[in-house]
Every structure is written in structure tokens, then in C-alpha cells.
Amino acid sequence: MFNKKTALTLGASALLVLTACGNGDSANEGEESEGASGEPNELTVWTWDPNFNVRALEIAEEHYKQDNPDFELEIVENSQDDVIQKLNTSLSSGVETGLPNIVFIEDYRAQSFLSSYPGSFVPLEEYYNTDDFADYKIKAGTYEDEVFNVPFDSGVTGLYVRTDLLEEAGYTLEDVTDITWDEYVEIGKDVTEKTGVKWMTNDHNDLGIIRVMMQSSGVWLTEEDGETPYITDNESLKLGFETYKELFESGVMNVHNDWDQFLQAFNNGEVATVPTGNWITPSITAEDSQSGDWAIAPIPRQTIEGSVNASNLGGSSIYVLNIDNNELAGEFLGATFGSDVDFYQDLATEINAIGAYEPAAEGEAYQVESEFFGGQMVNKNFAEWTQEIPEVEFGGSTYEIEDILAVSLQDYLNGADLDEVLEKAQQQAESGM
């Protein structure tokens, strides 16, 4: 009796463990599944940011459903880090189950994915006209002469300024329009001195502002080939470091450590300007009490030949995975993000998203005057600046090199020689390739 009982228990527990381990098909049919369902009319998307990317997809779904009533879009929202992690693990395992049909990838990371997993993404040129989009967006998703992305938000940068504080210090919006970073620093010192409010805020770990400077000058952390680190001879980067140090040491820079503190800094009125991507608009306008106090100006340029008052920060594009239903995914994206002017009007009106789709800028939603920004046509301005953004080759190692440079910046701020820290960074970046 005893033996039988024990044997039974043993067998049962072994069975239990085994069934728990085998991820049978049943697991994929349940609600738990986050991969593509395989249903002919249903697509699965992985993305982040519920107020921006997810909303955009929902609006796209509504538009597409008008002609395709059977269509279903399953949106799986995770943080960007989690999306990257899941995508990496799924793609490297070589198994198709669990992959989505469509995924959002930040432009800086696109080349890394396209080169790491060749054949996993589908070229999309045939689904939309790439000439309708700003060149720098198309270039971000082009790998070996094929276009793999449908561009989404432009990432165009602007200088958000508090006009009331400018006025208090004796400046007008005109004074910060089309200026250089040197002028930006000088005005900042004056404004901070007169108003007691810091000029801008930054996180020493986030070199986004230096990326903005570099793209406005048409260069990047790697050379044209997208691989060779471009650090010691990079005038733009060097100048960027100098500007950064000046901003920090002159005491006009507030230092934050994470995203929440960043938002607090301008929502609480602790800083007078925010030089960043247009995706920050919803966060700026979230503080109702500051309505009418803000305005936007073009991002400052560098004192380098060819540098322009337009740049880009962290926009993303949409990619289709090479699994079943990829034709439907391509058609859906082509019909919405790729060519629907009305859709872009809704995006601009509802979530202030500026696409990189050029014909959209003619639409009505772009001609609206924003009360919050003192009557400026914010969307129109951003759309115009989008067209001026220089295109650069992001390559596949942006964040790798930036982590190295974050250390260099720290050393430089602590008094090390600029040429030496950059030389060290160059060597380190080269050894890691």
C-alpha cells in the first residue's frame, strides 16, 4: 500500500513538473499570450508609452477599420526596455512563436536589430512612398539598401522657453530664436542671475543634448560606415562637451537623476528652458497653471559650418516581423502611418504627435494656434523644422559609445583634459567593436 501510494505521488509530481515545463499550444491560446495569434485578420503590436505610441495605434486602428471592418489590432504595452529585452530574447531563440507582427523600435537602436537578426524583419518599400517622409527617418531604418521601417514620430527638437521669465530678465522670444549654443549659454547666465531660476536641467548620464547638437551639425558618434567610432576628431562632440561643462559650471544647469525629477523640474517652474524633442509637449502642457507662459523656438545650433537650427531626439519607427501575416501588417501600416493625411491630423490634434510624413503638414490640424504656447502654431513649426533636420547614420552602437562617453563627461567635469578623455574614449570604443 505504502509503496503504491509513494509511487503514485512520485509519478504525479513528475508529471506535474513535466506538464508545467512543456509550453504546449494551449498556453498560446490563452489570454496570457503576447505573441501573434495567427488569426488572418488580427495583428499583434509591441510598443511602449500608453499616452503616445499606444494612442497613435488606436487611432490608426480606427482609421483602418473604416475600410476593413474585420480587422483587429492587439496592442501589448510594455516599457521600452522590456520591449527591447523581449524582442532580443525571442529573436535570438530562433523560434517564431511569441513574436508580435509589428514592433516599435527607437531609431538609435534600429540598425542594431536589423544587423543582429538579418531576415527577421520585412522590407516595407512596396507598401508606401518613402519619398513622402523626411530623409533622416528613412535612413534610420535602411539596412543594406532596403527600407525596413515606416517612420512614426519625427523626434524633431525645439527649445521650450518660459517667456515670462525671459521678459523678467529683459529678453524676448526673438532673442532666443535661431541662436547658437554659445548665445544660449550667455543668455542663460543672465536670466539665472536676474530671476534666480535655473536655465535648464539635465541628467549627467543622459547625453541626449549632445546627440541633439551632433545631429544638428550632421555628424554622429560613428563615421559614415556606422561602425568606426568617431570621437577624437569629432569637432561637434568636442564643442558639445565644452558647452555642457560651461552650462554646468556656470551654475545655470539643474541636475536631475531620473525622468520624474526631469518632469518636476519644469512643471514646478524650476527651469526656464527645456531643449528637447517635441514628444515632451504633453508633459509641458500638463501643468495648466503655466498656460500662456511657454513658447517654442528652434533648437540652438553649434558654431560649426553646416550646423542648422533643427535636430532630432529619440523618435521611433515601426517594423514588421517576418512571420505569418506580414503582408497584412505591411498593408495596415502603409494605409495608415504610410499615407493617411487624415490620420496624421488626428494624431496632431489628439496627442500632439508630429509625424515625419510631409504631406500631413498641409492639413488643418497643423494650422491651429496653441493657447498654452501663447498663440504659436506649434505643430506647424515642428513640422517645418522636421524638414530641415540633417540626416546622419546612427549605426548600431549609439548607446554603447554613449555609456563610454558618460564616463568621459564625468571625468571632464571633474577637471580632466578634454583631448585626453576623448582619446581614451576612442580607444575604448574601438576595442569594444
Binding site: 512520485l10 509530481s13 513538473v17 527591447i84 543582429s116 548620464n205
Partner: protein, 302 residues
């Protein structure tokens, strides 16, 4: 009557055999799963560590990944940071845990259960949750800076998260808070086994409480201290959640740990799983070396 013993023997032999079969069954099943889910991935990742390349484009490169480790500044910094963490953190934590356990073992102490729970409570909190709360407490305008400024200990807020030195201090404070109670439990249970008559005898001989602590308690707890210091070392070598959530390895790479570097290589940068596997094998190497050293030091002198 004479046959009885043989029957018994036979029965006993049968029982014995059944018992053996059962015992082997109990051993084989877990062994099978350990082999499949532990040893197979271990060997597979060792094999993987001999490859390099982006994503799925892995090529066999022999021991090149291991050679690269020695020239990789980011890796060397991560190793340094990890060592700094455990060199400072483990002694502090073990000492605190010992003090707490001795105090809480005091027979005359009231509300013993309450105090023990309070000290132990941090170690059941989620790593991510407590890291995030620490981040708020130690923010530039956070409550810690406010209290310190109110008490006039400092004039300007300490940049806990933005200064390379203070960021390291913060990580040490955080993991000490989280793990002291956990280690205390081991000491507390070990103290229950120490014969109270030893303390009585030493009191009669005129030993002070401090002398008792260093001359009796610590030597008596030596094996447990050894055990906890080994597990803590291994834990610190694998430190990930706290730096990831508190400082994201920053400022610069001042608080990046080896585990976080592995994460960066796999998910933050263009993925190079081969090199990441090589870095993770370096942890195995360090764990073995440190454990051997600790065993040597912990062995009773003869």
C-alpha cells in the same frame, strides 16, 4: 519455528529492495531536472562564451572573448565596483547583524518578537520596490537630504545619485538595510545553540559584555559567520536590482556591477550573447576564488 528467521530475512530483503528502488526514484527525478535545467545551460553557456558576434550572427572565436575581458575598461570598472561593494558592505552588514542578534537574544528584553520582526522585515520586501523607495528618499530634494540639512550636518544637499562616491555609498546603505535582518536570523538561531553556562562562567570570571561578544560569541558563531559571508559574497557578485533601479549604474559607470554589464551587453547594446556569457563566467571564477579564500580564513587555527 526454525524456518521463521529465513522468512523474515526474505521479507526483509524484499522490503530492502523496494526501499532501494524508491530511494533511487526520489534521487533520479530531481537529478534529471537539475541536469536539464542547471548543468545543460551551464555547459551550453560555456560553449556560447567561445563565440562572438551580433545577435544570431555568432561565430566561433575560441578564447578571444576571455582575452577581451582584460582590455575591456567597462568590464574592469564593473569588477572594481562589485569588489568595492562587497569589501565595504559585507563586514559592516555582518557586524551589524551580529550586534542585532546578540541584543535581540537578550533574555530580559521585552517585545523581543516585535523587534526581531522589525529587523527582519526589510528582507521580505521586493528588491525593485525598495530600490525605488530609496531613490525617492535619497533624491536631491529628498527626505534624507532635508533631515541632514535641518540637523545642520550638511549645508548643501548631497547628490546621492549624481556623485560617483555618494552613489556607491548609497548602494552600500541600501543593500545593508535589505540584508542585515536576513543574516541576523542565522546568528540568532546559532546563538540559541550556545550553552548559556559559558556566559555565566565568563561573567563570574569578570568578563565584560564586550569581551564576551568578541571572545565567546564570535568564535562560537564562526561556522555560521563563514556561511553567511560566503552567501553574501555570492549575492553581491550577482548584484543587479539595486544599481539597476537606484542609479542605473551611473553616474557614468560608477555603480555598474558585473551583472548589470551582462544585461547591458545582451539588451542595452547591440546584443553580443557570446561575450555576455564570457563575462558571466568571470563571476563563476570570482565566486570560486573568493569561496576558497573564505574557507581558508574561516578554518579554525590549530
Amino acid at each position: 519455528m526454525t524456518e521463521q528467521p529465513t522468512v523474515k530475512k526474505k521479507k526483509a530483503g524484499k522490503l530492502e529492495r523496494k526501499r532501494k528502488v524508491m530511494s533511487w526514484a526520489f534521487v533520479i527525478i530531481p537529478t534529471f531536472f537539475i541536469v536539464v535545467f542547471y548543468f545543460y545551460p551551464m555547459i551550453q553557456s560555456l560553449w556560447l562564451s567561445l563565440h562572438s558576434g551580433a545577435g544570431i550572427g555568432l561565430e566561433f572565436v575560441g578564447i578571444d572573448n576571455y582575452k577581451r575581458l582584460f582590455n575591456d575598461q567597462a568590464f574592469i570598472t564593473a569588477v572594481k565596483n562589485t569588489f568595492i561593494f562587497f569589501i565595504f558592505q559585507i563586514p559592516i552588514m555582518i557586524f551589524l547583524a551580529l550586534v542585532f542578534s546578540v541584543v535581540l537574544n537578550n533574555k530580559s528584553l521585552k517585545f523581543k518578537g516585535l523587534f526581531r520582526t522589525l529587523v527582519f522585515l526589510p528582507s521580505i520586501t521586493s528588491l525593485v520596490a525598495y530600490s525605488l523607495i530609496f531613490k525617492y528618499l535619497f533624491a536631491n530634494g529628498g527626505i534624507v537630504n532635508q533631515v541632514l540639512m535641518f540637523l545642520n550636518v550638511i549645508n548643501d544637499p548631497i547628490l546621492w545619485l549624481g556623485d560617483p562616491f555618494w552613489a556607491k555609498v548609497l548602494i552600500v546603505i541600501a543593500i545593508t538595510w535589505r540584508w542585515t535582518g536576513y543574516n541576523m536570523i542565522f546568528y540568532l538561531s546559532a546563538l540559541q545553540n550556545v550553552d548559556p553556562s559559558i556566559y555565566e562562567a565568563s561573567t563570574i570570571d569578570g568578563a565584560s559584555v564586550i569581551q564576551q561578544f568578541f571572545k565567546i560569541t564570535i568564535p562560537m558563531l564562526r561556522p555560521v559567520i563563514l556561511f553567511t559571508s560566503i552567501t553574501s559574497t555570492i549575492g553581491t557578485l550577482q548584484l543587479f536590482d539595486e544599481p539597476m533601479n537606484l542609479t542605473s549604474g551611473g553616474p557614468g559607470n560608477a555603480t555598474t556591477t558585473i551583472s548589470q554589464y551582462i544585461y547591458n551587453l545582451s539588451f542595452e547594446y547591440t546584443p553580443n550573447f557570446g561575450y555576455a556569457a564570457a563575462v558571466s563566467y568571470s563571476i563563476v571564477f570570482f565566486v570560486i576564488i573568493l569561496t576558497v579564500i573564505q574557507f581558508r580564513l574561516g578554518r579554525e587555527k590549530k
